[in-house]
């Protein structure tokens, strides 16, 4: 009886409102797709769908790592530069190997070796981020901003400011190949997403990540090794940025010294639009995937509609602002 008595129109509205908030990204995506398809007949085509999926796969890789970082109430601004350095290291080792004139020695790298080296580069830089944040209590914003500059500098040093091109057909297959009718980058990002969903929802590590973001002190008092989890999270974010770098390099058949500039912003935007709270503890990987798709579709739609690249930046900025404002409003309601 009591329950029935509580079911007032006001409480029902709140319930609907909260259900709507849960699906806000999906609703936004559907509205966006419908609007663009009305304005451009090229949007709803199979080729364009694959094109969008291929383009967003890199952002999904980065944004997945970023979600873990943001869930711990952190931020990683270095992912764009880490992506560039990992791509450059992979390309450089694959194409040029390492020359040791003193010993008349040439160390060549196979595809596997170069990819592993690129991944290790990303993971190491991520671990460095985590180490400075936890060991020296440097705010994540500052620590990762520093690594953004450091990694970009190393990329310039490694590439000498020039692209490293012609990396071979096998390497190009990673970014341009198809498997079972689906582009390989989509497979890669899909596997990463599935793994991240499992880790965040079904493992102790995932629960710790949410716990740290929700209330770090409480997590510490309950015996969670916060530093270890944070270092692991930043390491994963770095590794995933490296995977993004390898995909980008493979797609272009070239490691560009300027690759990945502002990619961190797209990743953060995907995370925020996907409903992950910037203050940590609340959000999901699937939300981020939706956020990345929204950004990808928005980019694609604006290009198809011949909107100037300058206006595209403005529109994207407003969409992010809107997403944060909705997030704040939801937090208040909660």
């Amino acid at each position: 009886m009591q329950a029935l008595a509580k079911s007032t129109p006001e409480s029902n509205m709140k319930k609907y409102g909260s259900s709507l908030a849960k699906f806000q990204s999906l609703i936004a995506l559907v509205i966006l797709c419908l609007t663009i398809s009305l304005l451009s007949d090229k949007f709803f085509t199979v080729d364009n769908a694959w094109n969008v999926m291929r383009q967003i796969s890199v952002n999904i890789c980065i944004a997945t790592g970023m979600t873990l970082v943001v869930l711990t109430a952190g931020i990683d601004l270095s992912v764009g530069s880490v992506l560039a350095l990992a791509g450059a290291i992979t390309a450089g080792l694959l194409r040029n190997g390492i020359e040791i004139p003193a010993g008349n020695l040439y160390i060549g790298f196979t595809l596997l070796g170069a990819v592993v080296a690129g991944l290790l580069t990303g993971a190491l830089l991520g671990a460095f981020n985590g180490w400075t944040i936890t060991r020296f209590k440097v705010p994540p914003f500052v620590a990762t901003l520093a690594v953004l500059t450091i990694a970009r500098g190393f990329t310039m040093l490694w590439t000498k400011g020039f692209p490293i091109s012609s990396l071979g057909e096998n390497f190009a297959f990673l970014g341009t190949g198809w498997f079972l009718g689906i582009p390989l980058p989509v497979w890669i990002s899909g596997i990463i997403v599935i793994a991240a969903v499992v880790v965040t929802n079904k493992t102790r590590f995932g629960r710790y990540v949410y716990a740290i973001g929700g209330n770090e002190n409480a997590a510490k008092l309950s015996g969670i090794n916060i530093n270890r989890i944070k270092i692991a999270v930043y390491t994963i974010a770095g590794g995933l940025a490296a995977i993004g770098g390898i995909i980008v390099t493979s797609r272009l058949d070239s490691a560009q010294p300027n690759a990945g500039i502002t990619y961190e912003l797209d990743a953060i935007a995907a995370v925020v639009i996907g409903g992950t709270s910037l203050s940590g503890g609340r959000g999901s990987i699937m939300g981020t995937v939706l956020g990345a798709i929204i950004i990808g579709v928005l980019n694609n739609g604006l290009v198809l509609l011949n909107v100037s690249p300058f206006w595209q930046q403005v529109v994207k900025g407003f969409v992010i602002l809107l997403a944060v404002m909705i997030d704040k409003a939801n937090s208040k309601n909660d």
């Binding site: 190997g97 020695l105 060549g108 196979t110 596997l112 070796g113 592993v116 091109s165 012609s166 070239s254």
Partner: protein, 212 residues
């Protein structure tokens, strides 16, 4: 304890397998010698392209004034039939030829009034700054897939332009005067999305002063 040991051994074995399949060692001087023999010679390629491939094609190039008329009348089909380009951009290149009277001689180009042109169209022929990929791409005779890397491909353009600057332009520039009747062949660039025929500039491959 035993489980942990098995895990560690498995990890080490995996690490060794990955390491073994990741790197290989060679003598540095052997690698360098092999690289030198494989190096692409852009100078020879560009020279062969100009003399063997492109020059015979110039007589088949479309007359510039005819092209202008066709672009005015049927832009889409004209671009489709006569232009070449790499990639999907709007910039397209045409191989053209023509004849006209020099109306002005500037620092970086000569102006020319096309002969028998009712529209009295004045065009320019570049005589100083020859750059870009117009000559390389206008004929459609070079396939990017023939090249191992984009740097080699771009070097071909650079060498073609260098040959034009050093061999085609100097004899022409030293003799040309206002009022000369000149025959030309070369490449032009047009933007298919925003076609502008007001300032056509030909990058010359062949220049001949017919009457002074």
């Amino acid at each position: 304890m035993q489980k942990k040991a098995i895990k560690n051994i498995a990890a080490i074995v995996l690490l060794l397998v990955v390491a073994y399949n990741s790197v290989y060692f060679k003598k540095l001087d052997e690698v360098k010698a092999a690289a030198v023999s494989k190096e692409f010679d852009a100078v020879t390629y560009a020279s062969n392209y100009l003399t063997v491939k492109l020059t015979p094609q110039l007589s088949n190039a479309i007359e510039l004034q005819e092209l202008i008329q066709k672009v005015h009348a049927e832009p889409e089909s004209t671009f489709q039939k006569y232009s070449h380009a790499l990639g999907i951009g709007n910039i397209k290149y045409f191989l053209v030829k023509g004849e006209g009277v020099i109306t002005a001689i500037g620092d970086d180009a000569v102006s020319l009034l096309l002969k028998n042109d009712s529209a009295q169209k004045e065009i320019k022929i570049a005589t100083e700054f020859v750059f870009g990929n117009a000559v390389r791409d206008a004929s459609g005779l070079i396939n990017i897939n023939e090249f191992n890397n984009t740097m080699d491909f771009n070097n071909v353009s650079a060498e073609i332009n260098k040959i034009i600057r050093s061999e085609v332009l100097p004899p022409f520039k030293s003799r040309v005067k206002k009022g000369d009747l000149v025959q030309f062949a070369g490449a032009i660039e047009l933007n298919q999305a925003h076609v502008s025929l007001e300032e056509i500039e030909v990058v010359p491959v062949g220049l001949k002063i017919v009457k002074q």
